[in-house]
Amino acid sequence: MRIVVQEPPFDLGAEAAAFATGRRDMGAIVTFSGVVRDDPAKPLRQMVIEHYPGMTERALHKIAAEAQARWSLGDVLVIHRFGAMHPGEMIMMVATAAKHRKDAFEAAEYLMDYLKSRAPFWKKELAADGESWVAARDEDEDALSRW
């Protein structure tokens, strides 16, 4: 298990390749990556992610450990950035390795669902007309009920 919380960009290609390389015992690798999205109707200047140092790593470890307890996984990777980033930049990624694709997919979705609303990150959007904190979506909270 590898959990990384950092400000600078990460290299999705290099991380995905390193995670997948040489897994002779694991047939299925799933990655999810989240990108700062720009709404053409309301152009975004920057996204700033605030986090809670200490608790963030603790929460991510807990979520990843829970995924490993629930599914048969060879490995789990979580990288999440904080600080300022521009549209098109990568915010975070998770990767899971499992013998079978069902485990790898479900575990990645579980990680994402919990990471969204149980890891202490808060997004602020800076647009031409001002700045605003992104509101939590009910459907993200609802997503937890399926696990």
């Binding site: 986090h51 809670y52 608790m55 990150f121 808060w122 939590a136």
Partner: protein
């Protein structure tokens, strides 16, 4: 003495990221009452507890959680990571 931390718009409304608080509160809810009584900006930040989350010693918990032995309490809006 307990460290109290604020994040996102809670931090902005209160105007600081953390402070040390001398308190005799035995639960998070009691601590919130003490903070609310301090100043208008605290009252505003804590106006709607349903819009807030709380962590005690870096674990998410409820507002009725006990504070016995706690070193750090953090208040923040629902998380929006990912």
């Amino acid at each position: 003495m307990i460290d109290v931390l604020y994040f996102a718009w809670v931090r902005e409304r209160i105007g600081l990221p953390r402070e040390q608080v001398e308190t005799r509160a035995t639960t998070v809810a009691e601590l919130v009452e003490e903070l609310r009584a301090r100043e208008e900006r605290y009252a505003l930040a804590f106006a709607d507890l349903k819009a807030l989350r709380v962590a005690v010693d870096q674990d998410l918990t409820d507002f009725d959680a006990p504070l016995a032995g706690a070193r750090e309490v953090a208040f923040f809006p629902p998380m929006t990571g990912g």
